[in-house]
Symmetry: C2
Subunit: 566 residues, 2 copies
C-alpha cells in the first residue's frame, strides 16, 4: 500500500472515531489502524447496527467538509493521562509507553497516535463504512469483546467505486452462498469444518478426481489407498509429533496414542519400504486422495477454504538425484497443462531457497536450487526468489494463481525433501549395486480438493465448465404433451453419459428456463410441439439459442465437449 493511501485510511479511522464519540459519547476508544483493505476502529460500550452507518458517515462527511487539520503534539505521560482520563483502553496502552507521548489532534478529537496522517481531512477522497464485527481487545480471547467498525477509503471516488464493485462481485461469487444456492454442499454443527458434499457437489468432486486419474495414467502415477489412523511412533519418525502435534486429532487405540493423519507422506514411506526397491523402480510416483484431518481453530474455519477434513491431490515421488531435473520439468508441464489448458488461470512462480536452519548436505542443496532455477528458466517461466524461505528439508517451487477478481491463491507446490527418506531408512539398490537413499518430492497440483473447488466456484461465479457441471443439460417442456418426447430425449442423453434433468412441472416455460439459469445449468433444451413434430431440439447454450438442432448431432457434440473438457 502506498504511503499516501495509508495516511488517508488511518486518518479516516480517526474521523470515524471522532464521529462515533460525537453521536455515542459513552463509547470507549480501542485502536484504529489502516489495513490492506481499508481501516477499522474498535469501541467498547457501543451497541449499534449496520443500519446506523449512514448517521455515522454523515457526521464523518461533515468533519471532512470542514477540512479539519491533523496536527501532532508531544506531551508528557502525565499530561496524556489527564487528557485520556476517561478512556480506559487508551490508558492501558499509555501504561506500556515510555518517554514523550505523541498525540494527534483533528478538529476537537485527540488520539494517542504515532501517525503519520494526512495534513487535512479533504485529502480523504472517498470513504465508506463496510461492516460490523466483534474483536477481542488486543486480539486475545481472554479479553473483552469490543465492537469493530470496518471501513475503507481511497484517494478518489472512482477507486472506491471499483473496490465496492469488486466486493459485490466477490459476494456474488461467494462459494459458500453458491454451495447452498446450487445444492452442492452444506455444513452441519455436528462436524465443524468438515463439508457435507451433497450429490451435486460430490459429482464435481468426483469429476475432479476422474480428471486427475486420467492424467495420472498418462504421467505414470500409482494411486494407493491408505489408512487414516496411525500409532504415535510413526509421527515420531516423521517428526510430526514434535512439530505438528497441536494440529492433529489424537485418539486412543489399543491403549496407545494414535493420530488421524494430517498428511500422506509417512503412509507412502511405509508403502515404499514394504518391498525392496531398485533404481529401475524410480521415479516411483505414489498418489493418494486419502481424507486428511487438521485441527484448525473452530473460529478460523471458512467454507471450503479453511477446513478440518480435506483431501489433497497428493503425490510423493521417490527418485534418484539425477532425476530431479527431468521430474521437476514434467511437473511443471503437468501444472501448465492443468491450469493453462484446462482451467485458464494465470500464475506467478516462486522459488524458495535454503533457509538459515537447513538440514542435509549443502552441495545437494546448491545443486538442487540450481536445477530448479534452470528448469524454470528453460521453460521461460518468470519467477521470484524467496530467499531463505525453503523448508529446512529442501527447496521448493510454488505457484500463485490469479483468479478473475485479481486475487491470488497458492495452489500448486513442488517441494524437494532430502530428509524424510533418511528418517524412514528408505533405500534403493543403485546401478552400482550399492544402497542409496532416494530423494523425495512432495507435490500437489490442485492442493486441497475442497479449497480448489471453492476457488473454482468463485472463479466461474458458479457457471462451471460443461464437464464439471453437476447437471449438464436441463430439458424443459412447453406443456404436458411434450413429456413423452422429452423423456425419450433424456434417455438418449443419458445413454451418451450426459448428466441431464427433466423439468416437466406444470409451470410456464419462462419460469422453467429461469429456474434452470438460476441453477447455472450450461445447456437448456426446450421441447415444444415444433420440436416433437420435427424431432429436433431448441438449445440454449453460451448465451445463444439454436432451433431445429438434430438430436444425434447434439448428443455427439455435447459428449465430445465433455470428453475433451472444453
Amino acid at each position: 500500500m502506498d504511503k499516501q493511501l495509508e495516511k488517508i485510511r488511518h486518518s479516516a479511522s480517526h474521523m470515524l472515531a471522532a464521529a462515533v464519540k460525537k453521536i455515542y459519547p459513552e463509547a470507549l476508544l480501542g485502536i484504529g489502524p489502516a489495513t490492506e483493505e481499508g481501516f477499522y476502529y474498535d469501541f467498547d460500550k457501543l451497541s449499534i447496527k449496520e443500519e446506523e452507518f449512514g448517521k455515522i458517515e454523515k457526521e464523518m462527511e461533515k468533519l471532512i467538509s470542514q477540512n479539519v487539520k491533523f496536527s501532532k503534539k508531544y506531551v508528557t505521560k502525565h499530561e496524556a493521562e489527564k487528557l485520556l482520563k476517561n478512556e480506559k483502553y487508551k490508558l492501558e496502552l499509555l501504561g506500556e509507553l515510555k518517554g514523550k507521548i505523541s498525540l494527534y489532534n483533528s478538529g476537537g478529537f485527540s488520539d494517542l497516535c504515532k501517525g503519520p496522517h494526512v495534513k487535512s481531512a479533504k485529502e480523504i477522497g472517498a470513504f465508506k463504512l463496510i461492516k460490523l464485527a466483534g474483536a477481542y481487545w488486543k486480539g486475545n480471547s481472554k479479553n473483552k469483546m469490543l465492537t469493530r467498525i470496518y471501513g475503507t477509503a481511497f484517494k478518489t471516488k472512482k477507486e472506491l467505486a471499483d473496490y465496492l464493485e469488486m466486493l459485490r462481485q466477490a459476494e456474488l461469487r461467494n462459494h459458500i452462498k453458491l454451495g447452498t444456492q446450487l445444492d452442492l454442499f452444506s455444513f452441519q454443527k455436528e462436524s465443524p469444518g468438515s463439508p457435507f458434499f451433497h450429490h451435486k457437489g460430490a459429482v464435481i468432486y468426483n469429476e475432479l478426481l476422474n480428471f486427475l486419474r486420467e492424467e495420472y495414467l498418462k504421467e505414470g502415477y500409482k494411486e494407493v489407498i491408505t489408512p487414516l489412523i496411525y500409532d504415535k511412533s510413526l509421527w515420531e519418525t516423521s517428526g510430526h509429533w514434535q512439530h505438528f502435534k497441536e494440529n492433529m486429532f489424537i485418539l486412543k487405540v489399543d491403549n496407545r496414542e494414535f493420530a488421524l493423519k494430517p498428511m500422506n507422506c509417512p503412509s507412502h514411506c511405509l508403502i515404499y519400504k514394504d518391498s525392496l526397491k531398485s533404481y529401475r523402480d524410480l521415479p516411483l510416483r505414489i498418489a493418494d486422495f486419502a481424507p486428511l484431518h487438521r485441527n484448525e481453530l473452530k473460529g478460523a474455519l471458512v467454507g471450503l477454504t479453511r477446513v478440518r477434513k480435506l483431501s489433497q491431490d497428493d503425490a510423493h515421488i521417490f527418485l534418484e538425484e539425477e532425476q530431479i531435473e527431468s521430474e521437476v520439468s514434467r511437473l511443471i508441464e503437468f501444472t501448465n497443462y492443468v491450469y493453462k489448458k484446462i482451467f485458464n488461470f494465470e500464475y506467478v512462480a516462486n522459488l524458495s531457497t535454503r533457509p538459515e536452519k537447513y538440514m542435509g548436505n549443502i552441495k545437494l542443496w546448491n545443486k538442487a536450487e540450481k536445477i530448479l532455477k534452470k528448469v524454470l528458466s528453460d521453460k521461460k517461466i518468470k519467477f521470484s526468489i524467496k530467499k531463505g524461505e525453503g523448508a529446512f528439508y529442501g527447496p521448493k517451487i510454488d505457484f500463485d494463481f490469479k483468479d478473475s477478481l485479481g486475487r491470488f491463491h497458492q495452489l500448486t507446490t513442488i517441494q524437494l525433501d532430502f530428509q524424510l527418506p533418511g528418517r524412514f531408512e528408505l533405500t534403493y539398490e543403485g546401478e552400482d549395486g550399492k544402497k542409496h537413499v532416494p530423494v523425495m518430492i512432495h507435490r500437489a497440483i490442485f492442493g486441497a480438493i475442497e479449497r480448489f473447488m471453492g476457488i473454482l466456484l468463485e472463479q466461474y461465479a458458479g457457471h462451471l465448465p460443461l464437464w464439471l457441471a453437476p447437471v449438464q443439460v436441463k430439458i424443459v417442456t412447453v406443456n404436458d404433451n411434450c413429456i413423452k418426447f422429452a423423456e425419450s430425449i433424456k434417455n438418449a442423453l443419458e445413454g451418451g453419459k450426459i448428466r441431464v434433468e427433466l423439468d416437466s412441472r406444470s409451470e410456464s416455460i419462462g419460469k422453467k428456463i429461469r429456474d434452470a439459469q438460476l441453477m447455472k445449468i450450461p445447456i437448456i433444451v426446450t421441447i415444444g410441439e415444433k420440436e416433437i413434430k420435427e424431432k429436433s431440439l431448441a438449445v440454449r447454450q453460451d448465451g445463444k439459442v439454436s432451433f431445429g438442432v438434430d438430436v444425434q448431432k447434439f448428443i455427439e457434440e455435447t459428449a465430445r465437449k465433455i470428453r475433451e473438457r472444453c
Copy 2:
C-alpha cells in the same frame, strides 16, 4: 453336523488326549470337544511342534487299531477327585459340577465327560491332526495360555481326503497370501487392521466402485461425500453412543467428545434434514463410500475380512410406506444382477422377523413382513425365516453367498428401519399436504468393499475377471529386437484403456510367461520376429494360445470384454 460324526470327532479327541498323555506324561488335560470342522484338545505343560504330529497320530492309530471300547461310568464327586487328582484343570471343572459325575473310559484313558461317544474306536473311519494354536483356559485372556491341538475326523477316508483337499484349496486361495504375492495390499504395525492398498489393489478397489457408480446412475442413487468425525450429540441421537460406543474410536475435538463414524446412517439423516422434502423427492437414495472405523479387538483382526477401517457400498433409502414393495423388489433385482450376472455366486436368502423387544407400530411391522415375503415369493426366491431375529427397529432380508469352496458369506443386506427417521425428526410433505415420517432402508450389496475383495480373491483364487484384473495384458518380448514393436503395441492398448505392462527384460520367453502367469495376468501377448513381420500378435488367454491375431481386432475385442465386464 450329524450325531454319528459328532461322536466320531469327540471320540477322536479322547484318542488324541490318550496318545498325548502316553508320549508326554507330564502334559495336563484341558478340554476336548468336537467342532464343526473336527475337534481339538487343550493341554498345559505341553511344548511341541507340528513336526511331532506324526508320532502322536501313530499312537492314536495304534489305539484305534486295538479297537478300544468307550464306556460310560457314574461315580461320586469324591471318587472322581481321586481319579483325576493330578489333573488340576479337570479338578477345577469338577468343582463346578454337582451330583453324580459321568466319566468316559477308553482303553486305559479316563476323562471327565458327558459323551456321547462311539461304541468302539474302529468307528473313527479316518482322522488327521491339522494344526497347533494357543488358547486361553476357558477362553479368558486372564487365564493361562494352553496348547491346543486341532484335528479332524470323518466316517470314511474319502471324506477326509475331500476335506483336506478343500483346506489345501483354501490355503492356495488365502487372500492374505495372494495380497502379498500379487502386490495388492499390505498391513503395517503402525495401523493394525487398516489395509494399505498398493497400486494394484487400489485398481481393483476403484474398479469395484466404478462398477457400482455406473449401476447407481441407472438405479437413481445419489452419491454424497461426508465427514468422518462427529460430535457425541449425533451418536446420542442415533443411539450409537448408548449401544455401540465400545466399538467406536473416540477423540477430543473443541474439548468435546467426538467419534470416528462406524456407520453412515446418521450422516445421511443430516443431509436429508438439510432441506425440506416432499413426497416427490421420494424414494431418495443416498449412497456413500466414506471410510468407516470400528474398534475391533486387535487379536480378532484378520486380513481384509475383519478390519478396523473399511468402506461399505452403503446406501440409505428414504421412502413412503407404500413404496416399500417396489423398492425392495428393485433391490433384489439389483442383487441378482450383481451376483448372478457379474460375479456368478449362488445365494440363499433369509428373512428376519419381529423380535420380542421390537419398537414401533405392530401393524407396520406386520405389513412390512408381509411385503418382504411377497416380494421374495414373487421373485421365486427360496428363503428361510429367521423368526424373531430382526433388529428392534425393523425386519430385514439378508443373503448368504456360497463361494467356490462351498463356504457361505453374508454380503447383501436389506434392512427396514422404522425408528431412526423419527429419532432424527425427519419428515416429508405428503400428497395430502401433511407432514409424514419416512421409512428408511439401510442396504449394502457388497457389504464392506475390503471384505468383498478378500472373498473375490479367494473365489477366483486370484484369477480375477478381466475387468477387475490390475494388469489385464502382459506383453513379453522374445528378444531385444522386439522391444520397439512391443512398445507400440503397449501404447495402442493403453489408448484402448486397457491396463498393460511390458516385460522386456533379457530373460527367456518361457521365464517371462511363467512370471506373468504367477501374477495371474489374464492375457499374455508374446512378440517375436514373426509377429513383427506380420504385424500381428500371439495371444495366451483362457488356457489357449492363438497366433497371428490382428492387433486392432484384439484391442477392440479386449476393450469390449472389459466394458461389458465379461
